[in-house]
Symmetry: C2
Subunit: 278 residues, 2 copies
């Protein structure tokens, strides 16, 4: 598990080393944490590395995960159990285990995507101001445990981060340009990180607080082109202490490359009245 | 597993009888099949029955499932393995086993939803013509193996089933009013069936053919009011032999009660050129 020449920091941090037929050793990196907890998308990238290595196919096209417990930085293992292997897809169960306990359990489908496949039909990409008209969030305080922020170059559509100065739009919508700070082009593992890399989408509807993920499913729809990614998050319902967050990832060629939806718990601060449904 | 007085046909068909601490006996009913295969939503209702019975909570709020193999009608078992039990949620792995092989594997989160909770924020329901202006699909031929159709009263927005007479809208969008034919009001298990009960959403974009589900995740967002349900399906990308289908279920009070997304395989018939992205 030493440093390997030529690997990016992110590749190192998501590396899964085969220990036996169904077990991979990983080292969870505290550089990918939000609010002092390792980021869910980062953990899914780690699981996907092991699942793909254990499969005859190259890409993790579908991942559905339950977040059972928050793992600590440091050594852990990924257990990969094959569920079905066909001619074009392989399905596995991948479990992140630390101190003998399952922390994340995922169902991952692997296949080999066609490079440069033209869509048969696609929705239109969201409208987004150019990066020069977008804004970064202020660097978090070191004590916030928000180490992930230093790894990512996120430039937000200003309309979607008005909550920063008390002007929440009242709608759960966040959009940002995404790049890794280190020079690494997007790949499926970067996309796993990207789908869970923005502040909770309900912030723009006036809610606050830490929003732990219950379940997150993401689909890899195409291999991303080099260049910046466009992230567009929306939500449909905030109710009974839970909300949904949908994230689409569009690549530099304007292609939809990943889709996610997570169900998350609402932070404990009540919303301002004006953000309610009209 | 005999007929129980007072249970609906659907309750009977989804009944899970505890055999031991982690095993439930079920009997898969061939009355819930599409194209000769048991419907995925029906199978998820069966899994949810067992998962909820094995949990201290009342409702299956999140289900993510991989469809490994198509099970046959008749006896099967559901294996429920607890992954985590907390104060307000319990997470389990539920596997549908037949002839010793896993056929569907699901991660299910249970909790107890608040009856009549008012949303803190909600998107608007989709626009939909009243039932009197909607249309049923013709009854399928007996040899089509489409037994599910006889259980459901689906009335479609005519704009979304133009594909029936060669006038596909060119967009993956389907909307329908949903009721069970037998007098049963919606509950979480009916919602599991509902999210996978319409023709593949890509039919309205000009595609055809059987569309097997790879992965389906659905979230139960609220307990449905009595009355008809409104189903609204959309898709975002058809590419590389796969498509996504998102279904929202709205209840008779205009509340979003369920959300699903599935990744499915495209049928083998090529789309007409005009249905491509403009």
């Amino acid at each position: 598990m030493g440093i390997v020449q030529g690997m990016t920091t992110f590749d190192q941090a998501t590396r899964a080393t085969r220990a036996d037929a169904t077990t991979y050793d990983v080292r969870l990196d505290d550089g990918y944490a939000a609010a002092g907890r390792l980021n869910g998308g980062y953990l899914l990238a780690v699981l996907a590395r092991a699942a793909v290595d254990a499969s005859p196919f190259e890409h993790p096209i579908s991942t559905a995960a339950q977040f059972l417990r928050s793992p600590a930085p440091g050594p852990a293992t990924v257990r990969v159990e094959p569920l079905r292997a066909g001619r074009s897809t392989a399905m596995v169960r991948a479990t992140l285990v630390q101190d003998g306990a399952a922390h994340v359990e995922a169902l991952i489908t692997n296949a080999t995507l066609t490079t440069g496949a033209e869509p048969d039909w696609s929705a239109e990409p969201p409208r987004m101001p150019p990066p020069a008209e977008c804004a970064a969030l202020p660097a978090p305080k070191p004590e916030s445990g928000m180490t992930l922020s230093a790894r990512l170059d996120l430039l937000f559509d200003p309309d979607t981060i008005g909550w920063r100065h008390g002007a929440a739009s009242g709608r759960p919508e966040t959009r940002a340009w995404f790049r890794m700070v280190e020079p690494v082009e997007p790949d499926p593992y970067v996309l796993a990180l990207a789908v869970d890399s923005m502040p909770p989408v309900v912030y723009s509807a006036g809610f606050r607080g830490w929003a732990p993920t219950v379940e997150l499913t993401w689909h890899l729809r195409a291999l991303p082109a080099p260049g910046p990614l466009l992230l567009a998050a929306t939500g449909r319902l905030v109710s009974d202490g839970r909300f949904d967050e949908d994230v689409e990832v569009w690549d530099a060629k304007g292609r939809l490359v990943a889709q996610s939806r997570q169900l998350a718990l609402l932070g404990r601060v009540a919303p301002p009245e004006r953000s309610r449904r009209p």
